[in-house]
Symmetry: C2
Subunit: 434 residues, 2 copies
């Protein structure tokens, strides 16, 4: 399969490379060529040629923290603080999920990802086999994160689960990969953390987890272990091969030094942090320290949408208020968080930029909508006034999965909606009668 995307503006997201007029050729799942200007195609044969009509080709967004299957809880339990929300509403509902539900609910998340230009997400949820199946069936790229937790009574079960899942899903499919991960410090005993650290060192693999999302969580860790979660994890040896922490709102200077030294990324989830009243992450501080940052939506129960334009806007503008400095953070830095930084964090170097040999994970952005006009500054337009409405096409591994309001053949949104509604209605009944 050979595709030509022509008459485009192209933003490759390579360092220091400006946007240019050009075209992108795709051969099967990879980018064959990125061409400046109009190419000569006399001697070429393509299976499809798409006129981009002056619109923008750029790498798809990388959603570095998500719980896609939580779509069933969108608008289900709003306006509660994190710990109450988890314990009284989310955990009881999740306990009623059946494995086959996860498949449908992940499909619903994928619809939203594709519609909004997200070409990869990092999914932390139960039943990785169902997540993987939903993604493969819909030709969507996913990295699954380990999500184990446990006290001393089930640390052994947890570590065996993690080992088994790693074996099953690490590089298991061209579209599915797996990374070591655990839920959080507060849901794991120290023994389990130590076992995960040993596994990480044995596999030379990075580790990912929720980290320092609330002040309460950090204070509890200090009370338990005499140090912050970051410092504890570093001491235990969890950071020897890198990785990332999700959220990271409450950190001290020592934490930042550790993250910088060990190459630990911050995944910031500004919508979720607002909605759960957790606060505003100190992203400017991380950038000033040289700590790398990527972006996530978190799950749809706490966000409530999976919309990277919203996350980019908030990542940029909340810092201005937090630091009372309108120049706190540059839009281009936010666009890097949303694209290439995310790919690097996930270990997907083949998906970071538009260049020869890279995976064809590409989105087409409509520049001829009123929110993108006039064209004073492309990157600022994307970050400050862009909307999912501007996403015309989403391509993953060379497959066009969404274009002009329609999903590709084989994807049936109405069926997925119906099944998702049945799942939450069934769970509501079970909760009421229990």
């Amino acid at each position: 399969m050979r595709t030509r995307l022509y008459h485009a503006r192209v933003l490759t997201m390579e360092e220091n490379r400006e946007c240019f007029d050009g075209e992108v050729w795709i051969s099967d799942d990879r980018i064959e060529k990125v061409i400046i200007g109009e190419a000569s195609t006399e001697a070429e044969q393509f299976d499809q040629q798409i006129d981009c009509m002056g619109n923008l080709l750029m790498p798809g967004f990388k959603n570095c923290h998500a719980h896609g299957p939580m779509t069933f809880l969108r608008s289900f339990a709003d306006d509660l603080p994190l710990h109450e929300w988890l314990n009284t509403m989310i955990f009881p509902a999740e306990a009623r999920l059946r494995p086959e539900d996860i498949y449908t609910l992940m499909q619903l998340a994928i619809l939203e990802y594709l519609r909004g230009g997200i070409t990869t997400s990092f999914e932390m949820y139960f039943h990785p086999e169902m997540i993987a199946k939903a993604c493969i069936d819909m030709k969507y790229r996913v990295v699954i994160s380990g999500t184990v937790f446990g006290d001393k009574d089930n640390a052994n079960v947890a570590i065996e689960t993690l080992k088994k899942d790693y074996k099953n899903f690490y590089q298991c499919h061209s579209l599915v990969d797996y990374r070591l991960g655990f839920h959080s410090e507060y849901s794991c005993c120290k023994n389990l953390l130590e076992k995960i650290a040993m596994l990480s060192q044995e596999l030379r693999a990075p580790v990912y987890m929720h980290n320092s999302e609330t002040e309460h969580e950090v204070n509890e860790c200090i009370a338990r272990h005499g140090m912050t979660p970051i410092q504890l994890m570093n001491k235990i040896g969890l950071f020897e091969y890198g990785g990332a922490g999700h959220h990271l709102l409450y950190t001290d200077d020592k934490d930042c030094e550790i993250m910088k030294q060990k190459g630990i990324y911050v995944v910031t989830n500004p919508s979720s942090n607002l909605k759960l009243a957790s606060g505003i992450a100190p992203i400017k501080k991380y950038l000033d320290y040289g700590v790398k940052v990527a972006l996530g939506t978190d799950g749809p129960a706490s966000n409530n949408s999976l919309n990277f334009f919203k996350e980019m806007y908030l990542a940029a503008t909340l810092q201005k208020v937090k630091y009372q400095n309108a120049a706190a953070i540059k839009p281009i830095d936010v666009l890097r968080m949303a694209t290439c930084n995310g790919a690097h964090l996930l270990g997907l170097k083949q998906c970071d930029i538009l260049a020869e040999g890279k995976q064809a994970d590409i989105i087409l952005i409509d520049l001829l909508k009123p929110n993108m006009q006039p064209m004073n500054h492309l990157v600022n337009n994307l970050v400050y006034s862009g909307s999912i409405d501007n996403v015309i096409m989403t391509m993953i591994a060379g497959n066009i999965l969404y274009v002009n309001g329609r999903f590709c053949d084989g994807i049936e949104p109405l069926e997925i909606y119906e099944k998702a509604n049945c799942i939450i209605r069934r769970i509501e009944c079970e909760l009421t009668s229990s």
Copy 2:
């Protein structure tokens, strides 16, 4: 012209009325009937019947603070604090505008309003005749605000301008109305404020202005007059017939008492306040006081989009972080701010809800997009996960101006974009060569 919108969910925004399945009939510019369930249409004749396919009819959004023609400055001067931004970038560029530019730039704003379900905006800008013409030509509903300012040397000119504009534009057209307004305390001498107060009392008319947007502004007013802007304006007699202040981030208890007593609305503009690093308005405090709140986008130079879904999300979630309380503000209250409160603030009672005899300013929201599924809570879905992508149709005074990605006949987006780009390129040249 008689239109039937059927097979719909209907959210009238009447107090304490839930959403229901039904239909809305429109006769010319007004709502003829709102019907629960499916109507018998045997004896009826319609010019058009539109199957809403289960999607949501609701009142259009009312954008209560805007400078629409500032579209030319979108992404032109980002990442600067308010006063520096105004004085070094915005004012010099605005000084180069020609009256005919305002017409085009307002058209561009209207395109964005229609695409995002905004059916009325409150426009504060120069050349009201050009704003009125653009709105009438595009069949868009507008309320124009006075925007005078001046020191003692030109207070008389300013007040004469205000009188003349009031006379020319107050109830001048079924789609165009006018309200008394001035720029701000800091840009007006006391004598001018007194003259405006007298005019307000003579006309029994409410008054609107930027108010208490930054701490700096409030402190300067206290230094000049020994009291806050709200207290000064109240003392001068500007609040005898109501009105509203735009922004209102920095207010004390006495200010809140005055606003409540005098029925002064707050127009909150959360995106603009973030982007200019002004802060987060104390909306929960206003609601607790019983002060009424409506919503605005501010101008596209400081936002940078004109997107009420973004404003609603921020109005709801920023309060959670400000008050460290995830239940700080209810989504239904935010939806009221965005619709009926806005209509009341603007003195447009005929546009507040869907009911017999009201103006047919109606939007159709697509509930079958992934961000709206499953349907756990309609209002929360709108406020927390809605997007302009969900707006399928925008109708003003019975005219369908936008539907399914297309503007109605006579509206030519590409022409408007081209003209808007020419305007800003010309102004850039003039600024460089000056």
